[in-house]
Amino acid sequence: MTLSIQREITEAVRPPRALYLRWPFGRPLGEAGHRNQQLHVLLAALELFASVREPGTIVAPEWPWRRTRFSDPLIEGSGPPHA
């Protein structure tokens, strides 16, 4: 499966599964040093891989760049990302 930061290209290429993030080029996992953000991206990608059944599905979480709070997803009870 693939991460994507250019939706139009992903729609044209049609990978099996894609997680699209409307974030700046060069930052597909988020900001440098932002561990929580990076972990959330990876966990969302893994969840997508496990749950999607329709080939070519693109999932786009609503995580506005620099306006989303990411807690530590490895701590039990931590909430989902939110703007």
Binding site: M1, T2, L3, S4, I5, Q6, R14, P15, P16, P24, F25, G26, R27, P28, L29, G30, E31, A32, G33, R35, Q38, L39, V41, L42, L43, A45, L46, E47, F49, A50, P55, G56, L74
Partner: protein, 141 residues
């Protein structure tokens, strides 16, 4: 493997907590000790580099002129999240990682595209298949 009309597809048959993941980045990541991607050709470089899973960030370099590398140079996890994936494995959220991952340089134009699609891509697929990867994650830059 089911093939839809135009999308290659393989069912997820292993729970994520037991799955093995291989990582592919197009961010131009390679070992410092190996040849960099060729930036002298404006049409790009369709080759790939094998990245050992035990390589530390200090062992890695980035060669790519077509994206803003500043964040990736400060934290390579931005385009090659191996450290983060190791954390997920340690936390039991992912089964494991392959021993070798792959770096590509994502800027490739004709007439070099057949080298990417006809040579590099099948080699990368074989590498992942031979390592029994259940999941391959492609990270663009």
């Amino acid at each position: 493997m089911k093939v839809s009309a135009d999308v290659p597809w393989a069912e997820a048959t292993v729970p994520i907590e037991r799955a093995t993941l291989g990582l592919v980045t197009t961010g131009g990541v390679h070992l410092r000790s190996e040849a960099a991607f060729d930036m002298s050709d404006p049409r790009g470089d369709p080759s790939h580099r094998v990245l050992p899973a035990d390589a530390s960030p200090a062992d890695l370099a980035i060669t790519h002129d077509s994206y803003d590398k500043r964040a990736a140079l400060r934290d390579i996890n931005v385009v090659y999240p191996l450290e983060r994936l190791r954390e997920l494995v340690a936390a039991g959220r992912l089964g494991g990682l392959t021993e070798r991952h792959v770096g590509l340089m994502g800027h490739v134009e004709d007439p070099l595209l057949p080298g990417l699609t006809g040579t590099t891509a099948p080699e990368v697929a074989r590498l992942m298949r031979d390592q029994r990867a259940d999941i391959v994650l492609l990270v663009p830059a």
